[in-house]
Symmetry: C2
Subunit: 211 residues, 2 copies
Amino acid sequence: MAEYELYCFAQSGNSYKVALMLETTGQSWSPRFVDFFNGETRSPDYHEVNIMGEVPVLVRGDMRLSQSGVILDYLAEQTGQYRWTSEDERRDILRWLLFDNHKLTGYTSVYRFMRNFIEEPNLAVLDFLGGRVKTAYSVFDAHMKDRDWVVGDRATIADLSICGYLFYEDEIGVDFAADYPAIAAWLERIKALPGWKHPYDLMPGHPLPKG
Amino acid sequence: MAEYELYCFAQSGNSYKVALMLETTGQSWSPRFVDFFNGETRSPDYHEVNIMGEVPVLVRGDMRLSQSGVILDYLAEQTGQYRWTSEDERRDILRWLLFDNHKLTGYTSVYRFMRNFIEEPNLAVLDFLGGRVKTAYSVFDAHMKDRDWVVGDRATIADLSICGYLFYEDEIGVDFAADYPAIAAWLERIKALPGWKHPYDLMPGHPLPKG
């Protein structure tokens, strides 16, 4: 039996943030597939697991944690990896976690969902979300111009959080190399982390059944 | 000269989160008005202050902090108020800060902005955002049903964060008392905190100039 169980599914970049941390730090973990596309996260049973109705949820013994940023924070303390080295650095990491959840992952996740998994999405809404996504990428690309990692001089949980949806590049419809070169170079650095895998190779549920 | 300077403006609920903390903990602070509606946050000068192009920013001597959640975390440690008492509680507060930034404040802020400060907003986008806002309020109302405060048995920075936009009730167009009674009761508790003020009484820039 694995030490950690992760409620997740392959298309969830928020779950990927945690799966990538578990995998690259060599934890004993197993995925618990959540059937999001058939409504599992909207069921009363799932709301018992997480009142917010979201993945990921990490289970270890009697402990159950939700919100990817909280889980990453917990695993950083448990493993000593991807961690801050001072309170100032903890807050700088928190700053990027919040920016990511609000602006970068926040808008990317719903934009990519509508682009790929909804039939006939409203084009005005799609356009609105696409604009927000581009603004977030511009801010982040400017931050990454002269640096290798989001905070400090090594990968931290801020990097794992922000990259959550960005390996679904075709589904977002952006060309990072052409339009956000600092982000593209940073994504290559993340791919080079020992044990790195694409979300579709790390979590169950890909490809989606047809029809 | 005040100990703290806060880059803010009256219509910014994210700034209000910090202003309310400074005020109710009795800090020496002064507002530094940001002319958001005339584009100040999009100027190169402002991006020197905060690369994310956002308010609030808190200044204390040489220190400059951005992201309301980070500033609240800092002030909780400095003042010892609205603070966690254990690492588990710190993470539970973080969980609600992240939910707030992503889902509750995140969608409320842009929805209320489009409803009030944009001429002829796109109705499909407004409808989309309104749906997201209601989902967030339903989740939060369910959480508050049998409790007085977001985490534990007293007000913490999670409460200050989540209430950021909710006193602009008319501008959001919700009736908390009718539709989200647990939220309405909790907002009354926040209003009863010693030193509480409405955002329009706490920060400069209200009302907006006509035309």
